[in-house]
Subunit: 224 residues, 2 copies
């Protein structure tokens, strides 16, 4: 009943509705790299299935049912990412692509077994929270590194999992969720940020820094 394409739409809508409600079809079109027409078509279908509220020209909002479906897929995705990283040592810059395909095909039973093998984990390898089986998700307080002031110490909460190359680079400088860093300097006009990680200093481009979410050191949540 719910096709793989539909699942991808719901996942994309979930991502966008964190910053905009309702989600305009144009935002979806850009995010998914589909034509606006495709988006309208599919949103109508999803509204038919009572997964979305859809008002022409107004964009879409989740129904409760739609939100639960989206969270279930996201749970699949993040559990798979963590499982691959932990159990099979898949590099953290590759788990996203792999999970992107597997999330649509694993059974609930297999998901449960992976969750159990991992000890019901709370976060994926990029620091994103894993929804619970019952569809609850906890948002960790955090802001993007580019919004922080120089001179303070932070803990990395989460990094964007979609850019494999970026992840590989962040790995080489040791910037993982849980890592502590000192923001030494922020160059003006969206320039690079100077970070102190352990004993070493690194310059991180503005675009890269935008996809790093941090929390002030003192109020930091502990995670594995």
């Amino acid at each position: 009943m719910i096709s793989q394409a539909m699942e991808d739409y719901l996942k994309a809508i979930y991502k966008l509705q964190q910053t905009m409600k309702p989600v305009p079809t144009s935002a979806l079109a850009e995010h998914m790299n589909f034509s606006p027409a495709s988006i309208t078509n599919m949103c109508k279908k999803l509204a038919e299935l009572n997964l979305l509220h859809y008002e022409p020209y107004q964009g879409v909002v989740f129904t409760e049912a739609g939100l639960q479906v989206a969270l279930e897929i996201i749970r699949h995705h993040r559990l798979i990412e963590l499982y691959l990283a932990k159990a099979l040592n898949v590099p953290w810059d590759q788990v996203h692509a792999e999970a992107e395909k597997m999330e649509h095909v694993i059974s609930e039973d297999l998901e449960d077994r992976m969750a159990e093998a991992l000890g019901d984990p709370q976060f994926d390898p990029h620091g994103a929270p894993i929804p619970s089986r019952s569809g609850k998700i906890f948002r960790v307080e955090s802001e993007t590194l580019t919004d922080m002031d120089a001179g303070n110490t932070f803990v990395v909460v989460e990094v964007n999992d979609e850019d494999s190359e970026l992840l590989r680079y962040l790995g080489t400088i040791g910037l993982y969720p849980g890592t502590e860093l000192l923001l030494v300097e922020c160059a003006p006009f969206d320039g690079p940020l100077t970070l102190q990680i352990g004993e070493e200093q690194h310059n991180l481009g503005y675009q890269a820094a935008k996809s790093v979410l941090v929390a002030p050191k003192d109020t930091s949540q502990e995670q594995l």
Copy 2:
């Protein structure tokens, strides 16, 4: 280029061409539960891609390229089955359904990691041989239990992985690949077979017994 549907066709053709060459489209239609017309269509496409030799009314035969693609998918399938059974304790009657979906989406890299985690295994949980990375597969000498004579002892080599209910039953009587059994009696007219497994005796229906492949005890190959 090669769609999931095409992969399913190649897998089915591999299965059938073990007993018939060339494979008639009707056999494929029956095995895959598609109409004969669908089969003809797809076989033409696969022939276009140089994966099959297709002669109208004569059926299909693999090209070398087609055979390699088929073996790669089968390797995916069987490695996944074994991995799920061993690493995540998925019951052996469920691994087939799970692998059927996952086989189409895992990367070669992930496959390698699973193979490595399992120590480059030779057989899946049902005793079927796993093709090597380079596409070689070893056929273990075996015959179906219904063709054997009463009074002899055999080792189970392989059981059909497609019937979940049957596998569950075989599990309850302890009939796994590697299990030793004494064929006590074969009722005539395709009647049930009486087996001695360990201390217990069981009656196995003729249809069920047909999907159990065995080898004489003395010449049996060792497998984990």
